[in-house]
């Protein structure tokens, strides 16, 4: 294996789903695997990444249902008024200072985050798309601040707990395409229910998707599967890619279809009138729990119900029958 040179920086951003409702229920379901155990595993992963190469960088974002908060690094450290100063020299067990400071800080931040937020009735979904968007902006900034001659490779690891929020489809897709354009891999480690959105993200950006069979072994799976970076992955035997279902759901019958009809006007639509209708169409299909569907029609209908456009129906060509010449009988 090649030694990474001083000029290669590898940035890992870990986005952890800290949805308080899911974790609260989890504490009742499986008391041996709680949010603090999960964060312990994430910290082990983060520490390992920092220790692999001196130039590696790390960021951790907690994805909550009201905000996305950067657990690490702290934006105040640059000014010297960070909390790290007092605790830095007292790690006690001889651990590399950077790691102990980081771990303490992460623990502190997550406690503050969970205690200061009140969950209101309808805000129960994790804002994953928002956290990913912030992660991309952070990666973009760090890439600009590199020294001359340094190259950076970045990837995002998502640790997902709660279910998908179908309302985020559009934003999620925007984020995925932005990540693909910047060559940023999105890996997903799913704790509970499969996530169609993350499967698409991993498929499009070239990352790894894994639903782990035993939650208490989270640290082991993170270190085995997600610690090696993209260059090293080709030399390892990792879990096989999942089969992603990109089929659309038809608007009228909710069946998954292969051949459908899409209104060309809706595809290039007038914003002021159709916008609200288009949004409501998507809302309807999303409520049926198929986050990656578009409004399509399974049968040819003469009027688009979304935008009331009458369609030009292609008529079969009328072939003129030739008059047969009767041969004169001799």
């Amino acid at each position: 294996m090649m030694m990474a040179s001083e000029d290669e920086v590898s940035l890992l951003v870990i986005v952890v789903d800290v949805n308080p409702i899911w974790w609260g229920q989890q504490a009742n379901r499986e008391p041996q695997f709680t949010l603090s155990k999960c964060l312990d595993a994430v910290m082990v992963m983060g520490n390992s990444h920092l220790v692999m190469t001196r130039t590696n960088k790390l960021a951790i974002i907690a994805s909550h249902c009201q905000e996305s908060h950067f657990l690490y690094p702290c934006k105040l450290w640059k000014f010297g008024d960070g909390h790290g100063d007092e605790n830095a020299s007292t790690s006690g067990d001889g651990k590399y200072e950077l790691l102990s400071v980081a771990n303490d800080f992460i623990a502190e931040e997550i406690k503050n985050l969970m205690s200061r937020t009140e969950v209101k009735g309808n805000q129960t979904d994790t804002l994953l798309a928002g956290s990913l968007a912030k992660a991309l902006c952070y990666i973009h900034r760090v890439a600009k601040e590199l020294e001359a001659g340094q190259e950076m490779k970045s990837r995002i690891l998502v640790v997902k707990a709660a279910e998908d929020c179908a309302l985020q489809y559009m934003n999620f897709m925007n984020v995925i395409f932005a990540a693909q354009k910047q060559s940023i891999l999105i890996d997903a480690c799913v704790l509970d229910s499969d996530s169609g959105l993350l499967q698409q993200a991993c498929d499009i950006t070239g990352g790894l998707y894994l639903k782990i069979p035993q939650k208490i072994a989270l640290a082991q799976y993170l270190l085995w599967v997600f610690l090696p970076d993209s260059d090293q992955r080709s030399q390892l035997v990792l879990p096989p890619p999942v089969h992603v279902d990109y089929r659309a759901a038809c608007f009228c019958h909710r069946n998954l279809i292969e051949i459908g009809y899409v209104c060309s006007v809706c595809l290039s639509s007038e914003l002021d009138f159709v916008f609200s209708l288009y949004k409501s169409c998507i809302m309807i299909t999303f409520l049926m729990n198929k986050p990656y569907s578009l409004e399509v029609f399974c049968n040819f209908s003469p009027i688009c119900t979304t935008c009331e456009t009458a369609f030009k129906i292609p008529l079969p060509q009328v072939v003129k029958s030739k008059k047969k010449k009767l041969k004169p009988s001799t």
Partner: protein, 401 residues
């Protein structure tokens, strides 16, 4: 000139009294002025949305590249042809990024003739390979506008009514050699609703001005290479759709992907056809060699023809094959992100950090999203509008999409 509107050539105005822009501050340094100029240059790149206009999403575009004698001129380094081909490669990549369900074809013209370099296709690789090979070709003779336009017209007139038909000509010569009256051809193009735009490399030519004015396209002459790139990028965005384009239901197919080389034994739910290696339709036509047999691929549900990449139009039954993420890529044109409001940093005492990247706000102005009032730095503003197409803070509020 007769019916043309009077236009003064004001590009020269940009070069008057350029020394007045530079101002020294108290210590005699020009740093502040230089930073200001850089800042303004960055702001120019921000995407301006069309607003409440219908856009043509399915586009059929022909790029006509002039490969006549004048392309050997070295005013663009290393010569005009190499520079143009490199920029057109970049254009093709960006074009498919912004318009994933559109198609592009390339035509070259020299020696008073026109020939197709590549046919209309939805896959960028073919075009980029052809452009790379064309770098070795020789330039010579005179171009022919008539021949290249009629060649493009032959294919474009069969395109369905709901898609936009466009031709982009990169024209370097000052002459054109036509077998017939080009003004008749312009009338035909106008009747077929084909929009022709020209990017001139030498100087303004009257026949191009008339051509673009009649068909509704744009005509610009480049100043230098970076201006050339800017003008090309202008054509990447979907143009406003004409009100007369027909409305029809497009038959599209949404396929589930089977990556090539997918191991056989894990495909339980797919039909038997996938188990055998088969030839892809694209490989049957291509002359690039290489093994044609592959295990995985996409099968057209109607005729079971196999293709290795999407999006593509099925050669057997004419069905448009896409996957849902391709259409999702076009969404940001339908729901463009509003431009953020610029305001000086001094007004914002409370925020020290950019909401998105957590970096310190140290530019002289900050940008505020009008919907959620979050504050962003200038780099994040550019990144959000060029690449991300959604405000990171707005996503945190409940409204969808």
């Amino acid at each position: 000139m007769d019916e043309e509107p009077e236009r003064a050539k004001r590009w020269e105005g940009g070069y008057e009294r350029t020394w007045e822009i530079l101002k020294e501050d108290e210590s005699g340094s020009l740093k502040a002025t230089v930073e200001e100029i850089l800042f303004q240059a960055k702001r120019k790149r921000v995407f301006e949305s069309h607003g409440q206009v219908r856009l043509g999403m399915m586009r059929h575009l022909y790029v006509v590249i002039d490969t006549s004698r004048t392309m050997e001129d070295q005013d663009l380094k290393p010569n005009r042809l190499t520079s143009t081909l490199k920029l057109v490669e970049y254009f093709v990549e960006e074009y498919f990024d912004q318009n994933p369900i559109s198609q592009v074809g390339i035509i070259t013209t020299k020696n008073k003739r026109a020939e197709k370099l590549t046919d209309l296709a939805g896959n960028p690789k073919k075009h980029i390979d052809a452009l790379k090979k064309a770098k070795d070709s020789t330039c010579g003779g005179e171009p022919s506008l008539y021949n290249s336009l009629s060649l493009a017209m032959q294919t474009l007139k069969h395109m369905p009514g709901h898609s936009s038909r466009e031709v982009l000509i990169i024209f370097s010569s000052l002459t054109t050699c036509d077998p017939a009256n080009i003004y008749e051809l312009v009338k035909t193009l106008k009747a077929l609703k084909i929009r022709v735009s020209v990017i001139g490399l030498s100087a303004e030519v009257r026949v191009c001005t008339v051509l673009t004015r009649e068909t509704g396209g744009s005509y610009h002459v480049i100043l230098d290479e970076s201006h050339f790139r800017e003008l090309l990028m202008f054509h990447v965005k979907p143009p406003p759709a004409t009100s007369s384009s027909e409305c029809s239901l497009i038959r599209m197919v949404f396929l589930f992907s089977l990556p090539p080389g997918f191991p056989q034994h894990t495909i339980a739910s797919i039909s038997d056809q996938d188990a055998k290696p088969s030839f892809s339709q694209a490989h049957l036509d291509s002359t690039s060699g290489g093994p044609g047999l592959s295990m995985g691929g996409y099968f057209c549900p109607q005729c079971q023809a196999k293709y290795t990449e999407l999006p593509v139009e099925c050669k057997v039954c004419g069905l448009t094959l896409v996957s849902a993420p391709h259409l999702a890529r076009s969404f940001h044109h339908l729901f463009p992100l509003e431009a953020f409001q610029e305001s000086p940093l001094l007004l914002h005492h409370t925020e020290r950090f950019c909401e998105a990247c957590q970096g310190e706000l140290k530019d002289k102005s900050v940008f505020t999203c009008p919907s959620c009032n979050s504050v962003f730095c200038v780099e994040c503003d550019l990144f959000i509008h060029d690449t991300l197409h959604c405000c990171p803070s707005c996503i945190h509020s409940r409204s969808a999409p």
